[in-house]
């Protein structure tokens, strides 16, 4: 009788412990939830071929072995693009040596004004490793469409001339060329860095 009673108590304790462990697991031991939209199942990312600000033809496939973060923006962009590039720079700095395994590229949505020379002057302001890509407007349109990016000129009387409205997501491509995470605008450096650390450790 006493044994049955004790068994029931231990069973209850076991159940309680299970609940507590599961809770603890979801709180601390769980893989950190990534801060963007995770693609599952993973799909190969569109393999663009564009002109880098170093004057070379560059394809996404040239970056196999590295984590690639793709952003669509332009030089005369007043707020959204510099903010995003600055966050990406901060994320890379906080990764330290590991940042060598990450390549940030910005594909311009303003190919008329953003020549490779212009980009060569612009990209290093944020980080020396960042690469700016440009191409013909057809090439840009094609790449943007496949990455879910909408862009259109927006006439406005500013000192910078026209503006370009565009989707401001950041795409994370893995070292095998698969699209893994899509980040919405406003993702901060720490979130990028946490995700990269987690994914690179696996």
């Amino acid at each position: 009788m006493k044994r049955i009673f004790l068994f029931i108590i231990s069973l209850a304790a076991g159940l309680g412990l299970t609940a507590a462990l599961t809770f603890a697991a979801t709180q601390w031991l769980r893989p950190p939830a990534l801060h963007g939209l995770v693609m599952q199942p993973q799909q190969p990312a569109y393999n663009f071929t564009l002109m880098s600000h170093y004057g070379q033809t560059v394809s996404l496939s040239d970056f196999r072995g590295k984590w690639v973060m793709i952003y669509f923006g332009y030089i005369a962009c007043p707020d959204v693009c510099p903010a995003t590039l600055a966050e990406l720079n901060k994320a890379l700095l906080s990764l330290g040596k590991q940042s060598e395994r990450v390549q940030v590229v910005m594909i311009t949505v303003d190919p008329e004004r953003d020549t490779k020379e212009q980009l060569a002057g612009f990209m290093p302001h944020f980080n020396k490793s960042f690469i700016g890509l440009t191409g013909t407007s057809e090439q840009i349109k094609e790449a943007a469409t496949y990455y879910g990016i909408y862009f259109a000129k927006h006439q406005e009387d500013t000192a910078l001339g026209y503006l370009v409205d565009h989707t401001a997501t950041v795409m994370l491509i893995d070292p095998d060329g698969y699209l893994r995470v899509v980040y919405s605008f406003g993702t901060v450096a720490k979130d990028f860095a946490d995700d990269l650390k987690y994914l690179m450790a696996r």
């Binding site: 068994f7 069973l11 304790a13 995770v38 909408y150 862009f151 989707t167």
Partner: protein, 234 residues
């Protein structure tokens, strides 16, 4: 040391505690296996990014994928002069519209139908307006758009993987395809037939809604786990 002896010699502690530990481990393993086998949560796969769009609607205004962010959208692809199999595919769109306007529970989510015309030279906004009227489209629910040739080629041909080509009679051959895109701009389902089951489309829309409703807090982990265990509907 003392506790160690107690552990080994005590009359009641070892066995029940061992049972307790077994129960804990067993339950954890069982719950994971049960989740994988019984798949209590169903999700649709995230098939890929929906293409970027900058199209013109029947009022001559720009409709982009940014306008559609936050909307669940069912796309189809046709043109106003299409004779076959378009009446059938437009019938599917109409039937879905009827259900969405009627008994379907949208749980507060905005659901849109979007017909993309592949014949921009002929299908001006005015023509699209008549086409919409003829198709029985209810304006805020069902939109008609078109765009320039290259945009359509990249977005529809490349992005949505829809085969279409000009035929010898001056028309366009187009594969019947319907695509369901979620509010984040991710393709969640494709129906590559002229007559998909309406019930299946509605079920898929419900699955996307349920996932979006549970995209925060603890429920999110359960849904991400469902993606991990490939808990896709049959």
């Amino acid at each position: 040391m003392n506790t160690n002896i107690r552990w080994q010699t005590s009359e009641f502690l070892p066995t029940p505690l061992r049972y307790g530990a077994a129960v804990v481990v067993g339950l954890l393993a069982l719950s994971i296996i049960a989740f994988a086998i019984f798949q209590p949560i169903k999700v649709l796969p995230r098939i890929g990014l929906a293409p970027g769009l900058g199209l013109i609607d029947q009022d001559g205004r720009v409709l982009s994928n940014e306008t559609l962010r936050g909307h669940i959208v069912l796309y189809n692809f046709t043109y106003s002069r299409c004779a076959s199999p378009c009446p059938q595919t437009m019938g599917v769109m109409r039937a879905v519209q009827e259900q969405l306007n009627g008994p379907f529970d949208n749980k507060g989510f905005r659901i849109r139908l979007l017909t993309i015309s592949l014949d921009p030279a002929h299908d001006t906004p005015q023509v699209l307006k008549e086409f919409a009227l003829r198709s029985g489209a209810d304006r805020p629910r069902w939109w008609f758009v078109t765009g320039d040739e290259s945009q359509l080629k990249y977005a529809v041909g490349g992005g949505f993987n829809v085969y279409y080509a000009a035929d010898a009679k001056g028309g366009i051959t187009v594969d019947p395809v319907f695509v369901l895109v979620d509010g984040w701009g991710i393709v969640r389902a494709e129906y590559r037939t002229a007559s998909p089951a309406i019930d299946r489309i509605l079920r898929d829309i419900s699955l996307v809604i349920d996932e979006a409703k549970n995209s925060e807090g603890a429920a999110r982990y359960a849904y991400e786990a469902a993606h991990l265990f490939l808990c896709y509907p049959k």
